[in-house]
């Protein structure tokens, strides 16, 4: 897909410029990636300020590692993997701390707020969009992560595989299963996924 080829070339170019101490490349990378990146951390930590901090940290780490960046590996995948690890470490530390403080109840609940997108974010969306959000949030975590990275953030299979630490083939399986589950959930609420529905959408778009 030419989109993804273009992406790969862009990231490789920035990696080369970063290696040459070019801070403007970091700015370009930031402009390109920050928005979907903080959103992806947000889904893990459930707190916008924390998500901002982790995303910020990830960019600084990329800068610190600029001398050893491999242009053949996607900078975007590196960023996503970095924030993911940072977020998981933070959640783990938080759970450990809670455990030490003997507050077993709260950890499980607040560590991963699994609510579908909160109501106030979705006021304006159509009911179908809300349902979709809800169904996505109900997917098993790995499927959900693969689907969001692929469908909404536009990462290639290889990038997702790097982020999630699995094979590209596995990414494909996650995606197919996620789409299957979404289809069955949609038909359970009477939404028939058909050419008719899509043409309606096309008219609205």
């Amino acid at each position: 897909m030419s989109d993804q080829t273009q992406d790969a070339e862009r990231y490789a170019e920035w990696a080369r410029r970063l290696a040459a101490d070019d801070a403007t490349a970091l700015r370009a990378l930031f402009d390109d990636t920050y928005e979907p990146l903080w959103r992806s951390v947000m889904r893990l930590v459930g707190d916008e300020a924390a998500a901002r901090d982790l995303a910020q940290d990830a960019f600084v780490r990329v800068w610190d590692r600029r001398a050893t960046l491999d242009p053949s590996l996607s900078l975007r995948a590196l960023l996503y993997r970095t924030v993911r690890n940072l977020a998981l470490n933070q959640l783990r530390d938080e759970q450990t701390r809670r455990h030490l403080l003997e507050d077993p109840g709260s950890a499980a609940i607040s560590a991963r707020p699994r609510d579908p997108a909160t109501a106030d974010q979705q006021l304006e969306a159509s009911e179908l969009a809300e349902r979709l959000q809800q169904f996505i949030a109900e997917l098993p975590p790995r499927q959900q992560e693969a689907l969001r990275l692929s469908r909404f953030d536009g990462l290639s299979h290889q990038e997702i595989a790097d982020v999630m630490g699995c094979a590209p083939r596995t990414v494909n399986n996650h995606l197919v299963r996620a789409l299957e589950q979404l289809r069955s959930r949609l038909s359970s609420i009477g939404t028939v996924v058909s050419g008719l529905l899509l043409s309606t959408l096309g008219g609205a778009a």
Binding site: M1, D3, Q4, Q6, R10, D21, D22, A23, T24, L26, R27, A28, F30, D31, D32, Y34, E35, W38, R39, M42, E48, A51, R52, A55, Q56, F59, V60, W63, D64, A125, S126, L128, A129, L132, Q133, I136, L147, S150, R151, F152, G154, S156, H157, V171, N172, L175, V176, L179, E180, L182, R183, L186, V193, S194, G195, L197, L198, L201, A204, A205
Partner: protein, 343 residues
């Protein structure tokens, strides 16, 4: 609602083509466009300023220009600066107003304009993606496409920026022309230091002054034959709605760019233009409602950051005007004792 914008990844496409009901799954993929998060960055400007503070150790990519201090000598040198400066730079003081505006729904990353906006009372130095530096005077807005790239994220034929307000540019030479667009003019360069002033509330339109190098100035919508080429120390003006710049004249670039060093100077401007500039510089409201603004043109020159009352006093006294404090600034009015309309 945004249109579906992510094509099926090739691996998924080939998988679905062999899959029972794969067609429906592909439609679910399309339908998911409805659930795509609405873009809206989480304080990207603030986060970027912290990142640049972290990485640049005293030479952030976006630097507030201290109002009264002389410019640091590193300003025009390449990005990574000696760390000597680091202790004097305080990230907490920064109030960067750069915002990344996202074009919703196009789905093209490169269509995102980067907007740098200096609040009233504040100046900022911005390092552009190509390494060039733009110093923005207060109340100015600079827009450019992310990475100074073209519409589809391809390398652009022109490094193109839009300016409303006033900025001094130090352009890193490369093979791509650098072009500043204002409402009235296009200013095209290959690598130089120059000033563009395009205040929406001023009658003069856009004025350009060159400190070093050469720039070409073309009125918006005009053919390049009417362009003028400026050398160091020269300036021109493109008025509103005109088809040709004024003849090239010798200008005091040092004086015109005094704001960069904390001073305040304007050359040959009507009283109201000077007052508007004071408002921007000091982030105040200055009422001028009952004062007839004649054809008189004034020049003011304060090499060090003057107090606002000093400037007002110097402007008012010889003209039989007086000024008084208001809740948001000052009000200039005809003096009761000497109600002469002209000095």
């Amino acid at each position: 609602m945004s249109a579906p914008r992510r094509p099926l990844p090739p691996e998924l496409q080939s998988e679905l083509s062999q899959h029972t009901g794969g067609h429906e799954l592909a439609q679910v993929w399309e339908l998911l466009a409805l659930a795509d998060p609405v873009p809206g960055s989480s304080e990207a400007d603030a986060v970027w300023s912290r990142i640049s503070a972290d990485i640049a150790r005293g030479r952030p990519l976006l630097t507030p220009v201290a109002g009264s201090a002389a410019l640091p000598p590193t300003l025009n040198t390449p990005r990574r600066a000696p760390s000597v400066q680091s202790r004097s730079w305080r990230p907490a003081v920064m109030a960067i107003a750069a915002t990344l505006a996202l074009l919703v729904g196009t789905g093209t990353w490169a269509a995102r304009p980067v907007v740098v906006n200096t609040p009233l009372g504040q100046q900022e130095s911005v390092t552009l993606p190509d390494g060039s530096v733009a110093e923005l005077n207060a109340g100015s807005t600079l827009r450019y496409r992310a990475g100074l790239r073209g519409r589809l994220g391809l390398p652009a034929a022109v490094r193109e920026l839009e300016l409303e307000g006033e900025a001094f540019f130090d352009v890193v030479p490369n093979r791509t022309p650098f072009e500043v667009r204002t409402a009235e003019a296009r200013v095209t360069v290959l690598g130089t230091r120059f000033l563009v002033r395009a205040r929406a509330d001023e009658r003069d339109g856009t004025s350009v002054a060159v400190e070093s190098g050469r720039v070409r100035v073309t009125p918006q919508g005009a053919a390049s034959e009417v362009a003028v080429v400026l050398q160091a120390g020269q300036g021109t003006v493109v008025g509103r709605g005109v088809t040709a710049p004024t003849p090239v004249s010798v200008v005091g670039v040092e004086r015109l760019t005094l704001w960069r060093r904390g001073g305040f100077a304007l050359v040959d401007q009507p009283l109201d233009a000077i007052v508007r500039e004071l408002e921007r510089r000091y982030a105040l409201d200055i009422g001028l409602a009952n004062v007839p603004v004649g054809e008189e043109r004034l020049s003011v020159y304060y090499p060090d950051r003057p107090s606002i009352e000093t400037v007002l006093s110097d402007l008012c006294t010889p003209r039989g005007l007086r000024f008084s404090r208001t809740s948001r600034g000052y009000e200039i009015s005809p003096s009761v004792e000497t109600p002469l309309p002209t000095p």
